[in-house]
């Protein structure tokens, strides 16, 4: 029982971390109809910037304080992501107005290759560290109730809290601002949106900036967990089932989806895995998402897919 609880909590935590990456996908899709496969690359790029600047800044400025260095690095990394957003709009998106989803998707794949190369050549391809003082050691709860207690990872808790805050913020952004509505309009029909004066360019820069920040936050958390290195990009693949399960257009969906996937894959790996040789969690996550989709093709909270003649 204690172990089951532990698995459950572990799954929830892992799910929160996926949500963080999933959020980036949802944001951009919701606001521009682009399925951004560069999200993984953006996470890596942001994390690399953060890690390297927090390493370089003390060298350049002779700073002592770790906190200050981290803050400056964060600011610079944010600036990098903003610049990136601006460049992407300027050089890519602007020329792809009104193109089909597949084309846009491909363009983001191109961007992701570019970012992978750029990130590594600017910042190197070693393992780097982000140290924002996350607690690493385990915490044991309910030791009186269960033998060995229930293990909780402190780092995960911090990450989960950050993810929750981010989601709350973003939901507000979408619901309370008129930009929110404009974003959805853009996602529906670029041309019509243009025709009534929604400035696509600006909108896209805004969205990609926001997505850049989410990528940075995800990058910092995953990076401080895993070390900043190329493999961070593969985290995106683990977040994808979350995105479709929750619904491509739903911010809360990303969270709920994350929790379901997180718990589902951990439970399956631990309780079914041993029977079939293990290593099933990743495809199980996808199959789980697929099963949900069979009942709700637009994901749990996604906007209904319109199909009318």
């Amino acid at each position: 029982m204690g172990f089951f609880l532990e698995t459950l909590i572990g799954g929830l935590m892992a799910g929160m971390l996926y949500s963080l990456v999933a959020l980036g996908f949802v944001l951009i899709f919701k606001a521009s109809g682009v399925f951004n496969f560069a999200q993984g690359a953006m996470v890596l790029f942001a994390a690399l910037a953060m890690a390297r600047f927090s390493e370089w800044i003390p060298q350049w400025l002779g700073l002592e304080s770790k906190l200050l260095a981290n803050l400056i690095a964060f600011a610079i990394a944010t600036a990098c992501m903003f610049a990136l957003a601006w460049l992407i709009e300027r050089l890519v998106l602007r020329y792809l107005v009104n193109q089909e989803g597949a084309t846009l998707l491909m363009a983001t794949l191109g961007i992701s290759y570019f970012l992978d190369g750029l990130g590594q050549s600017l910042f190197g391809s070693n393992v780097y560290q982000i140290d924002i003082g996350m607690p690493k050691d385990p915490l044991f709860l309910f030791e009186s109730m269960f033998e060995g207690g229930v293990l909780i990872n402190q780092e995960d808790i911090v990450a989960a809290i950050i993810a929750a805050c981010l989601v709350a913020l973003l939901s507000l952004f979408f619901q309370k601002t008129s930009t929110g509505r404009a974003l959805r309009a853009v996602a529906d029909d670029h041309q019509a949106a243009q025709s009534i004066g929604i400035p696509l360019n600006r909108i896209w820069v805004i969205v990609w900036c926001v997505a850049g920040i989410t990528a940075l936050v995800a990058g910092i958390i995953w990076g401080s967990k895993l070390g900043v290195q190329f493999s961070l990009t593969t985290v995106a693949l683990r977040a994808l089932p979350v995105v479709i399960l929750g619904g491509l257009t739903s911010v809360p969906g990303a969270i709920i989806g994350g929790l379901i996937i997180g718990v589902g894959e951990k439970l399956s790996e631990i309780y079914i895995g041993p029977l079939v040789g293990g290593g099933i969690e990743i495809w199980f996550a996808y199959v789980l998402a697929l099963v949900f989709l069979l009942f709700r093709p637009q994901g749990l909270f996604g906007e209904k897919i319109i199909d009318r003649v």
Partner: protein
């Protein structure tokens, strides 16, 4: 005339942190040989090709480089997956494959795998040494009875290599072997470590590569699994694996491929002197002498010595062909004195001598342990138990030969 030695390396992608220092080591060693005046005067021509640790790209690199500049005399595939693919191609092209400490374990049998040279040790050697080390720690191999050992492994041919040997050992000593695969590249291991926490194995063997290693150590820390009960393969026991875990990895052990980290070895000093001091070095100076760097150096040295041995027979100061180098690699006889003379004093243990039947040449390794900031040897040498490994090699290789309908190498082939 130059001896052309292509290098398949990966300096980008998921395995770049581990691939880069290794490649630096190889290239530096070749440069050093040239500085020293070449192999009996024959200079080495180096060319790198980026594989990204991807098998298909490795094959492309191999095809691209094998015929260039008079033909590649030997190839280090630097990936077990690529080794499998190239094993099928090398006999056709007559290019020996050197797989120091990786590749297929059964390729130790030179009678079947004529072109493969898993010099210094195979994964079965590694696994065997680890089991012995654990046995020693417990106070005897018989104490392993009833113990539980988990193998957390990279879910690929590389990760699966040790399983047959461990199963064999488990049968012998009566310990329980729990298999926990980790899907490559291994960024998400929560479930694995929850399972470890649930089944509480006495030891965890870590057969990882790249990001999987540090992630495993971090998860171990997060789930409170004692790091000193963890033993890694030699590809999970280098600086990139533990550096950013820092104190969290303290006590973690890994088997070595003879050498560990050694910044003071004569060879390292020589490289620093002759190359890095003059700005001719590859990669950062600080990493010279670290485990993976040294691995590259050692592997490169094996190839160079193979060429030297070939020259002894086929003509000193000449460029050797792949076939000739193969003979050289098969007739290595590196005594401790020779190794010391090359600068490997304290790094490699002689004799390393190969033969037609034995393409490994040695079977000894030590354990080193991370103390929070550096690797240090923590045990003496262990010799892998050839009583166990030999028959396994023989039967597995024979099975391969039968499947491929290979004709047995005539005894005469060995002396030619």
């Amino acid at each position: 005339q130059e001896q052309y030695l292509p290098v398949l390396s990966y300096r980008t992608g998921p395995y770049a942190p581990n691939g880069t220092p290794t490649a630096n080591g190889i290239v530096d060693y070749y440069k050093l040989v040239n500085e020293r005046g070449g192999i009996n005067g024959v200079k080495i021509l180096v060319e790198e090709c980026e594989t990204g640790y991807d098998t298909a790209r490795s094959v492309e690199c191999y095809e691209r480089l094998k015929g260039k500049n008079g033909g590649a005399a030997l190839i280090h595939p630097w990936s077990t997956g690529a080794t499998f693919a190239l094993t099928e191609k090398a006999p056709v092209d007559k290019i020996p494959l050197i797989t120091t400490g990786y590749g297929r374990s059964e390729s130790a049998d030179g009678m079947v795998f004529k072109w493969n040279f898993p010099l210094l040790g195979t994964y079965w050697v590694a696994a065997d040494v680890i089991v012995q080390a654990i046995g020693k720690k417990e106070g005897g191999l018989d104490k392993l009875k009833g113990k539980k050992i988990a193998l957390v492994y990279h879910d690929s041919p590389f990760g699966k290599e040790p399983i047959p040997l461990l199963q064999e050992r488990a049968k012998m000593h009566g310990f329980d072997l729990q298999l926990l695969p980790v899907t490559a590249p291994g960024v998400e291991q929560k479930a694995t470590w929850l399972q470890v926490r649930q089944s509480r194995p006495d030891y965890v063997l870590l057969w990882g590569w790249g990001v999987m290693n540090s992630t495993a150590l971090k998860e171990a820390q997060a789930t409170g699994y004692p790091r000193d009960k963890m033993y890694g393969v030699w590809w999970a026991g280098a600086e990139p694996d533990v550096r950013d875990v820092g104190q969290g990895a303290k006590g973690y052990n890994a088997v070595t491929l003879q050498h560990g980290t050694d910044r003071n070895a004569p060879i390292v000093k020589e490289i620093l002197d002759k190359l890095h001091a003059k700005g001719k070095g590859t990669g950062p100076k600080e990493e010279v002498g670290e485990t993976l760097y040294l691995r590259g150096v050692v592997s490169a040295a094996m190839g160079v010595e193979g060429i030297r041995a070939a020259q002894e027979r086929f003509g000193k100061g000449k460029v050797m062909t792949g076939e000739q180098v193969r003979w050289g690699l098969e007739n290595l006889n590196l005594t401790q004195a020779k190794l010391d003379a090359l600068g490997f004093k304290g790094v490699l243990r002689g004799p390393i001598s190969t033969s037609c039947t034995d393409h490994v040449g040695s079977g000894a390794a030590r354990i080193h342990t991370w103390d929070g900031s550096k690797w240090a040897f923590s045990t003496d040498w262990f010799d892998a138990d050839s009583q166990i490994i030999k028959p396994m090699v023989k039967s597995t290789a024979a099975k391969y030969g039968a499947e491929k309908k290979l004709e047995a190498r005539p005894a005469a082939d060995c002396s030619s």
